[in-house]
Symmetry: C2
Subunit: 289 residues, 2 copies
């Protein structure tokens, strides 16, 4: 059979190549959860590429990831709802997002070495993971859009959570216990950073300066430029994703603007009234940290 055709053949339905009992035990140990159905562990850690040269069949982590994502969103919603009893839905949603987004979950995978158990045959994934691991330590809690977290890492955290939810017969308190430990420390109102693009646009609004994050040239040379009042302030290049390039350019521009004045009032208009509270009720959100 020609190789191309062979690659399109489905993997045998429902078959999950077993994981060794030692590996299963290692995953259970790092999750602090013992599975009744051990086969869920292998399933939750199996990427579609694992079946090469077959086409990936139904036995990958994708359905568990779908379930785990919904369970996590619910439990983290409850947590921030109960922790911040007066916070309106807008900031609640931002806090929830920061605790269940791709980067936070990918960080959890790396922090606990969950990524070492991922079963795949896509060498490119290894590179992406290695790059992410290298850059991760630069940001204590969250990069707010500067890091390009590999989706596969957040996927397997969600799929393992989905697996625990299933295995425990939908015991959300048990799932929460596991996640709470893995995710420690959760991002709080105090550690929730600002997205650099929002921060830069707010700066423009507050100071009456015209901020232009120009992505026109990205397709040509993967570069995004930031102009303030028509003057080029900073640029960043990132070939894989335009959004990451924009976020990095915005961050570089903010750093330049702050450095230039060397003062905390750099991002305020001259003679401006005291800073209003930002949407999270924190004062001086645009000033130097």
């Amino acid at each position: 059979m020609p190789r191309e055709q062979q690659q399109r053949e489905e993997a045998p339905p429902g078959y999950v190549p077993p994981m060794s009992p030692e590996e299963v035990a290692a995953v259970e140990a790092l999750l602090c959860y013992e599975f009744k159905d051990k086969s869920l562990v292998g399933l939750a850690l199996t990427h579609g590429s694992f079946y090469l040269p077959y086409r990936s069949g139904d036995a990958t982590y994708e359905r568990l990831e779908y379930l785990g994502d919904a369970v996590l969103t619910c439990l983290v919603s409850r947590e921030v709802f109960l922790t911040y009893r007066d916070l309106p839905p807008g900031p609640l949603t931002r806090l929830r997002a920061a605790n269940v987004d791709k980067e936070k979950l990918a960080r959890i995978a790396v922090d606990h070495g969950i990524h070492r158990f991922l079963r795949h045959k896509a060498p490119k994934l290894e590179e992406q993971i290695a790059d992410f691991v290298k850059e991760l330590c630069q940001y204590e809690y969250h990069s707010n859009g500067l890091l390009d977290a590999p989706k596969v890492l957040s996927d397997i955290v969600e799929s393992l959570i989905g697996a625990i939810y299933l295995d425990s017969k939908y015991n959300q308190e048990l799932v929460w216990q596991v996640f709470r430990k893995l995710a420690n420390p959760l991002i709080s109102l105090e550690t929730l950073g600002k997205h650099p693009v929002s921060e830069l646009l707010e700066f423009g609004q507050k100071t009456g300066r015209i901020v232009d994050i120009s992505k026109d040239g990205w397709v040509k040379d993967t570069k995004v430029d930031v102009f303030v009042d028509g003057v080029l302030v900073a640029s960043a290049t990132y070939a894989q994703k335009k959004e990451i390039a924009s976020n990095r350019a915005a961050k570089a521009a903010l750093d330049k603007l702050k450095e230039k004045s060397g003062q905390s009032d750099v991002l305020s208009a001259p003679g401006e009234a005291p800073e209003p509270l930002d949407e999270l009720g924190r004062a001086g959100a645009l000033e130097l940290q």
Copy 2:
């Protein structure tokens, strides 16, 4: 105090004007759930405008809505996950969305008369609700983007679900019992319709015809036109939302194309091979129903 300034004053914090015991009991009866904390019922049904001429404070349904939305998403995810054991995440997500989206939840509010207990002072809401109620009966399960469901109606279903989740100390099985009864019948793979814009674009791809849904004129005259191979096939106007106008124009175009041929193969290219399965594994999805 001038009226304008008075309007900006916050409502007293945490104060929820009480709901009569008769009304609370009526809501409990229609939910088949008896609240321990009766004040949650009033809170879940209080729109920001209820505090006029004060500015709405913290005592509105918004936080409960945020919580209920997350809980519902989780429980409906589980339901479709368990019902369709081989379905991939894409169709699972579509099925979930159809059962928790604005229209489905607004339909639940109307079907059970929950909207009659909404506390607000925004006459425009009454109009929107009345329009929606009038049009609803045209669609057995879901209009798939043709109806403009008032968000306030889905909000109060979510907030009541959030209130039950809180009141029952996070008892998801109890919440599910209540929702399952309210939402009956849930939208299944068999009753899940197609979104008219997707259906029209698929038709273009399959038949090699150029479909253009032109929204350029919407701002001027709230009209969206559909061209197939450069010929105007149908139009629709809807002033409130461009998206609804587009969906209605796409639906009108599909109806025209089907009517024109009067045959079930209208949406297939001539001499085409038998229909492939669509993403939900159903054959002939583009043919006449």
